[in-house]
Amino acid sequence: MQKIQDNRAWLLVLPVFLSVAFSAIIPLMTVVNYSVQDILGPDNRVFVGTEWFAEVLTDEDLHDALIRQIMFSAIILAIEIPLGIAIARALPAGGWRASASLVVLALPLLIPWNVVGTIWQIFGRGDIGLAGYVVNALGIDYNYTADPISAWFTVVIMDVWHWTPLVALLAYAGLRAIPDAYYQAAQIDGASAWAVFRYIQLPKLRGVLLIALLLRFMDSFMIYTEPFVLTGGGPGNSTTFLSQYLATLAVGQFDLGPAAAFSIIYFLIVLLFCFVFYTALQNVGRQRGIS
């Protein structure tokens, strides 16, 4: 049969192009548009070039927010990934116990983000909150509305509580996919529990852990709702992360130009980090060829 060669294939990809254009490219272009202009009124705009970018990049408050953001993501990743793996390993492998623990484990994931913030806001209060009251009763000075360290503890623990189950569920799925023969072979080979983890489970979990890491990084790097509800970014600016700073800029002060410039930088940072993580973890898998 003779092959027909024409450009009809473009018609088939057209719907995808259109939906991507409307969902991503056009909104993004709007942001780009704002980032290089000073909008003074509906019919009054001035092209300002890279001025907004320069302003945003030299903004001290933004630098601080970026540092806080990186610290926050690093801390919660360092806690949630190992903790999630540990929980997944401790869960029962099958039967009703497994189902029951999975349901209980997944509960925090089902709670809306602003409700999570509210829960911890009340939970952590020294007067009526159980956690806050108990910690204070133990003689530890804890008040998340006044003390930056208390506030950080609360925000981190809230995120760990909210999102470790996701890592645990992913790791659990990865663990269940390892055939029994591996464990049997390890038993025959006399491998210790640590060796089983290091040489069987961890390598086999690499794929799901990469996904968990990327998801958790992106989400934590863009965290907004929970700290906004819990601390409102305070005390002072101590828990103001990038999104919240951006919201203040765009919605609070209506500085659309700088906010748009900052959005683009923000987007590029997230993209860059994800790329670095992805490449690094892919290489861990490949480069150990000759060790």
Partner: protein, 365 residues
């Protein structure tokens, strides 16, 4: 290395076994001699792997004991039993090199670096993996991976036995022959006790000195390949071993003959006497190799209607009908079947009788 005894062994995967069908393995008593090369042959689901896992300690039997050199090891785990096992699908440690994979069982047992290296090189040499030693194991072909799995099983010189659970299933046909020969060579070289599970009779016969045939959770026969061929102790052995399998015909005994489909087949007088006394369902069995085609008029023959003749290159299979019963005979490449009927002779020397599927003693050979 050790002699392995299984005493009154049975196993069930059901929590509260009652009926015969609940058992994957039923009352088993047998001995595996030190340094032997055994094959465990049987169809899928007959309990081969269960038996293997009980010997290695991955599974605790429901009842009975496992003895290594007379010592009870039933409750010990595989590590304490010091046993090696190779699985059906290659198990390798992805992040390690081939050399590290092979060294893993030795390092876990505290071997020094120098002796580990020496032993790993020895095993790699035997399995022709020397060139890959420095490569990462996960990048290799399925064949090479299975060789690594086998290497890890063979690397420890002091194991009680090495158990193979259909290790060549995933291997390329051509390489199968090479590896099987290699295993035989390794057996001679390293003097390890080897137990080899398979459902492939050719594999079992070429590898083992002693073949253990399992059927429905029972060991139905243990013997040399020749025994299995000439003296099947159970109709299943007759049917399963050999290609095509034994002709099995329900029969009754009348006088000195067996009656199959209203046709009298003469028997060895002693055999006929034993069979006459035996109860149960009687079956007459003869291998296609031993069924003779006789000239018309020869005494003690039966007349069969030729159904078809298949030429398989170096021999032919004649299928003939005797009443309801189909009988196959293996004949030489040059013999021709001219008519629609053949005169079949069943030499009493090769005719076996079975009562309720088990061979009657003194009915042949």
């Amino acid at each position: 290395m050790a002699r392995i005894d299984l005493v009154d062994l049975s196993h069930s995967y059901v929590a509260d076994p009652r009926r015969r069908e609940d058992y994957a393995l039923s009352k088993l008593n047998m001995t595996w001699q030190d340094g032997g090369a055994y094959a465990l042959l049987g169809p899928s689901g007959c309990g081969k792997t269960t038996l293997l896992n009980i010997i290695s300690g991955l599974l605790k039997p429901t009842t009975g004991r496992v003895l290594f050199n007379g010592q009870d090891v039933t409750l010990l785990n595989p590590q304490q039993r010091n046993i090696a096992q190779v699985f059906q699908f290659p198990v390798i440690y992805d992040t390690m090199t081939v050399a590290d994979n092979l060294a893993f069982p030795l390092r876990n047992r505290g071997w020094g670096a120098a002796e580990t290296r020496k032993r790993v090189e020895e095993i790699a040499e035997i399995l022709e993996l020397t060139g890959d030693l420095k490569h990462r194991a996960s990048g290799l072909s399925a064949d090479a991976k299975q060789k690594i799995s086998m290497g890890r099983g063979l690397v420890r010189p002091d194991v009680a036995a090495v158990l193979f659970d259909e290790p060549l299933t995933t291997i390329d046909q051509h390489l199968k022959w090479t590896l099987r020969r290699k295993l035989k060579q390794i057996h001679a070289q390293l003097k390890l006790s080897l137990i080899y599970v398979t459902h492939d009779q050719v594999e079992a016969m070429t590898f083992a000195d002693q073949v253990v045939v399992m059927y429905g959770g029972e060991v139905v026969q243990m013997g040399s390949p020749q025994d299995l061929f000439e003296q099947p102790a159970h109709t299943f052995v007759g049917f399963f071993v050999g290609s095509p399998g034994m002709n099995l015909m329900p029969c009754t005994i009348e006088g000195g003959s067996a009656v199959v489909a209203d046709t009298r087949i003469p028997l060895d007088p002693a055999a006929a006497q034993v069979a006459g006394r035996a109860g149960g369902k009687l079956t007459l069995g003869i291998r296609p190799e031993f069924v003779e085609l006789a000239a018309p008029g020869t005494p003690d023959t039966v007349l069969g209607a030729v159904e078809r003749v298949e030429d398989l290159g170096n021999y032919k299979i004649v299928s003939a009908r005797l009443g309801q019963q189909l009988i196959m005979a293996k004949i030489g490449e040059d013999e021709t079947i001219a008519s629609d009927t053949v005169h079949l002779r069943f030499p009493p020397r090769w005719t076996r009788l079975y009562a309720d599927d088990r061979a009657l003693t003194g009915t042949g050979g």
